[in-house]
């Protein structure tokens, strides 16, 4: 019976001699604050992992983003309707001149949307926070924003609010609003998907996105 | 690396079993280099093997028996100079662990405190300045595992070599890699042991150095055996012997 397995395992562990618990270690040795600010350090770290990083002005960011995405060969950009930044995207796409990528909304559940998800060539999400060291974006999918947006389409566009960039991951977890209960999924992303399993030769986009386009909102 | 404590008047030498069996010149050279500095050396004849071969092979009782012998033979207060980081390490770090009896453990710790590896003793204990009288020579240095990781004495050996004006120390590509001796490992896994020796010697040959200097006779025995089996034009030598040779212009 499963309960018995649990009890037997725990009983064996409890029978073992106890040892003094190691003292709680001091706070993480903090890396010195990067010169030029966390944003510059984040940019450098992401670029080193082959993400493409650009800055966007906060004023009119969505229109500017649309312009920057033209001419990249993207036919559509998937987005999640229920997010606070969705209206700005919709407005920018309704306003500006026609042309790809087309803005396309995620609809329903993944069971309903799966085919279109796997056929899409790009998607946009926001980062909840970022940490310059070691160079990660913290994505917080949830009811408003599906997790697979940042995984399935080969191009992933991420918006990073400048004020949400922390120096270290420790700081981001402590101060970024990640107190329990945690959402079903949190993902740290540091660059496009990659592998070196064949002769240690680096290649991108095996399963996750092959391009990560990061836009830091200043 | 200046040592604040004064030079001892006298030291004990723990020769090690490999030196007694195969490389007595190493002990003679060590003694000479120490005596030159005005320090008397005594050789407690009751010494045997430090016990490391048994200890590493999992035969703790035999190791403990050997340790007891050395504790008795090396009784006293004098520094104990050991021309081998692995034997020095055995006595310094592992002897105390062999004993559960508090009195024996204390004795082991007192001995541990007195033990010093040969190269470290020359530099920190004696502050030697050696005058290199030999011809220009290119050598390479092999960091034996215990010297490097357990005893941390490689910097002393390197300082001594760097102090020889006409000796050029060429770095091995894989200086810190194990030579493959490992005591019983050489017997239980001879093919691997031989492969590791081969790689170390290839590394040596690639530097163009004719000689490999090391501080541990286990490594030297192993590499010398491989050299002779294959008739290679290479030579290995213990640091003590090499330093003595240079001082004599040889």
């Amino acid at each position: 019976m499963p309960e018995h397995a649990r009890d037997r395992i725990l009983a064996r562990l409890r029978r073992a001699p106890r040892e003094a618990q190691p003292p709680d270690d001091a706070a993480t040795p903090q890396a010195p604050a990067p010169g030029g600010g966390a944003a510059a350090a984040l940019e450098a770290a992401l670029a080193a992992m082959r993400a493409e990083v650009q800055r966007l002005p906060r004023e009119g960011w969505a229109g500017e983003l649309r312009e920057r995405l033209r001419g990249r060969g993207l036919s559509s950009l998937l987005y999640a309707r229920g997010t606070p930044w969705a209206p700005a995207l919709e407005e920018a796409w309704a306003a500006g001149p026609e042309g790809p990528p087309v803005l396309a909304a995620w609809e329903g559940t993944v069971e309903e949307f799966r085919d279109r998800l796997f056929a899409a060539d790009a998607a946009i999400t926001r980062a909840e926070a970022a940490a310059a060291d070691p160079g990660v974006l913290v994505l917080r999918p949830g009811p408003a924003e599906p997790r697979l947006l940042s995984l399935v389409p080969p191009v992933h566009v991420v918006l990073v609010p400048g004020e949400r960039i922390f120096g270290t991951l420790e700081e981001a977890l402590a101060g970024g609003g990640f107190a329990p209960p945690l959402p079903a999924n949190l993902v740290l992303v540091s660059g496009p998907s990659k592998t070196a399993d064949i002769e240690l030769t680096l290649a991108f986009g095996v399963h996750g996105p092959r391009e990560l386009l990061v836009f830091i909102l200043e | 690396m200046a040592d604040p404590s004064p030079k001892p008047a006298r030291v004990q030498l723990f020769a090690t079993c490999l030196v007694e069996a195969f490389f007595p010149e190493t002990a003679l050279a060590a003694v000479e280099l120490i005596e030159r500095e005005g320090v008397e050396v005594v050789f407690p004849a009751g010494q045997t093997c430090c016990g490391q071969p048994a200890y590493n092979a999992g035969h703790r009782n035999e190791a403990r028996a050997a340790a007891r012998r050395q504790l008795s033979a090396l009784a006293g207060d004098l520094p104990v100079v050991v021309p081998s980081a692995s034997c020095a390490g055995m006595m310094k770090h592992h002897y105390p662990r062999l004993f559960s009896d508090p009195a024996e453990r204390e004795a082991a710790e007192r001995l541990a405190h007195r033990v010093v590896e040969f190269g470290e003793f020359l530099v920190r204990g004696l502050g030697v300045r050696l005058r290199d009288a030999g011809p220009p020579l290119r050598v390479a240095w092999h960091s034996s595992c215990h010297a490097l990781r357990e005893m941390g004495v490689v910097p002393f050996a390197k300082a001594l070599l760097a102090g020889l004006a006409r000796v050029d120390v060429v770095p091995l590509r894989r200086e810190t890699e194990c030579c493959g001796f490992g005591g019983i490992f050489a017997v239980k896994h001879p093919a691997l042991s031989a492969a590791m020796a081969e790689d170390k010697l290839a590394d040596l040959a690639a530097t163009g150095a004719e000689r490999l200097i090391a501080g541990d006779c286990g490594c030297l025995l192993h590499l010398r055996g491989a050299i002779e089996a294959r008739g290679l034009p290479l030579r290995v030598q213990h640091l003590a012997e090499f330093l003595r040779e240079r001082v004599h212009g040889g």
């Binding site: 559940t109 070691p134 240690l200 | 999992g58 890699e177 093919a191």
Partner: protein, 468 residues
């Protein structure tokens, strides 16, 4: 005792020039990258201390922490199962899959599932478990086991992989272009992600305080396996639990830096539950199988317990002069390298694996780099003692001749006259090598050591060195 094929496999591996070259190059590369990602030795040392402390703290409270983990996982809606043995663990996974009518599973990399031989078990029951990590995918096609904890196909070159894909994946032309080989894998597996009824994964760390499963990866296949199918089953050894979220950043830095010399993996996936109300995607059910399989026995010994600190980074493998020469397959175990030599005898028993700890020179290179400071040489030596004692008790262990030899050693070490007499014999006989097979093999690669012509004691007396 133990694995008689080990020495033969070692010699075979040593004779395989291509294998040796592959491994030497790969391991050298990892070692160099590790130094590059940890340039400050003092900072690295502090980080290792932190990592070691986090692991030891968790282990010190293991039973309580596991209960805490279970509570938190269950509170998050994750099903928790306990398995004492691999066989039970396999059965639990099978039952969950059968209850959901799953015929095909997509799998992320999981060493513990290798330990359980889970894929073979599922196959016997008609369930196809497809490896999706590219390295695991490759060796699965080849019908092999991983040769390294982190890069399982490191022993294969592109020509071998090209032939494998061409022969085993329908409609694949022969190509050695890495980009094209990757594209083939992507296409093939993408379909599987979409169609599989369940995803299987391991767990890098399980956070007790928040009920979170932490998985790291570079490819994205792990997120696919744990995010696309409607069912996710995670298997983990009971030692993988850590106390709190704050323990993650230093352990993650240590893990990725030590494993492949990266600052961070592409993805760190933190799973704290199945799809919540309102979530548009994510698995509807998440299960965790907590596997003992001998770990509680390891835990019972306060010295050997340190084995469980391991975070499976593979760094010890990368720096081991033995592993880098023979690769993982020669060991014939799930876990190769230094940690394998320590873990396997404890999980599989001394009878089968007691010889493994002797396949080491105790050089300490592994211990020097272990990110969580496992005292590997001490554990290797301890396990050698265990094997010797088992032999003394009549079980697996040193043979009679060996025991006699060590008894003789002990006597000579205790009696200086006997000790010197033996050396004298060596001198007179021109050698002291007993005609023992093992020594003969050693002798093939070594000229016989020459005993010194004169006794040291006599030499010293001539020079006037006092006897003390």
């Amino acid at each position: 005792m133990g694995d008689s094929g080990f020495e033969a496999r070692i010699e075979q591996a040593l004779a395989d020039a291509g294998l040796r070259r592959n491994f030497a190059s790969a391991m050298g590369s990892f070692a160099a990258r590790r130094l590059a990602v940890f340039p400050d030795a003092a900072a690295l040392e502090r980080l290792r201390e932190q990592g070691a402390a986090a692991r030891r703290r968790a282990l010190a409270r293991l039973p309580e922490l596991l209960e805490e983990l279970e509570r938190a996982l269950v509170g998050n809606g994750i099903h928790v199962h306990w398995a004492e043995t691999a066989a039970v663990g396999n059965r639990i996974v099978l039952e969950i899959l059968e209850a959901h009518g799953v015929r095909r599973v997509v799998k992320g990399k999981s060493m513990v599932s290798e330990e359980m031989h889970l894929n073979a078990f599922l196959a016997r029951h008609g369930i196809d478990a497809v490896e999706t990590d590219l390295g695991e995918f490759i060796i699965q096609l080849a019908g092999e086991t991983p040769s390294h904890i982190i890069v399982p196909a490191v022993h294969k070159n592109r020509a071998q992989i090209a032939r494998l894909f061409h022969e085993k994946i329908p409609g694949t032309p022969y190509t050695e272009e890495v980009a094209e080989l990757n594209a083939v894998a992507r296409r093939t597996l993408r379909r599987m992600f979409r169609e599989a009824g369940a995803g299987l994964s391991g767990v890098n760390f399980a956070v007790a305080a928040t009920g979170t499963l932490c998985l790291v990866e570079n490819e994205g296949n792990g997120r696919m396996c744990t995010g696309v199918p409607p069912l996710h089953i995670a298997v983990m050894g009971i030692e993988k639990v850590i106390e709190r979220l704050e323990d993650l950043p230093p352990l993650l830095r240590l893990l990725t830096g030590s494993a492949t010399g990266q600052r961070v993996t592409t993805y760190v996936n933190l799973i704290s539950g199945p799809r919540r109300a309102g979530d548009p995607d994510g698995p509807r059910e998440v299960h965790v199988v907590l596997l003992d399989n001998g770990r509680s026995a390891v835990y019972a010994d306060p010295e050997l317990r340190a084995t469980l600190q391991c975070i499976r980074c593979g760094c010890c493998l990368n720096h081991c002069p033995v592993y880098t020469r023979i690769g993982g397959h020669a060991y014939g175990t799930t876990y190769p390298g230094p940690i394998g030599k320590v873990l396997t005898p404890q999980l599989a028993g001394l009878e089968r694996a007691g010889g493994l700890p002797f396949a080491s020179t105790l050089c300490g290179a592994c211990e020097e780099v272990c990110p969580v400071k496992i005292p590997l040489t001490r554990l290797l030596r301890r396990l050698r003692e265990e094997t010797v004692q088992a032999g003394a008790a009549g079980g697996a262990g040193a043979g009679a001749i060996e025991r006699l030899a060590w008894r003789g050693y002990g006597l000579s070490a205790q009696h200086p006259r006997l000790y010197r007499l033996l050396f004298a014999c060596g001198r007179w006989l021109g050698g002291l090598m007993p005609p023992v097979a093992a020594l003969e093999r050693w002798g093939r690669a070594h000229a016989e050591p020459r005993f010194a012509r004169l006794s040291l004691r006599r030499l010293f007396r001539k020079r006037g060195i006092p006897d003390a």
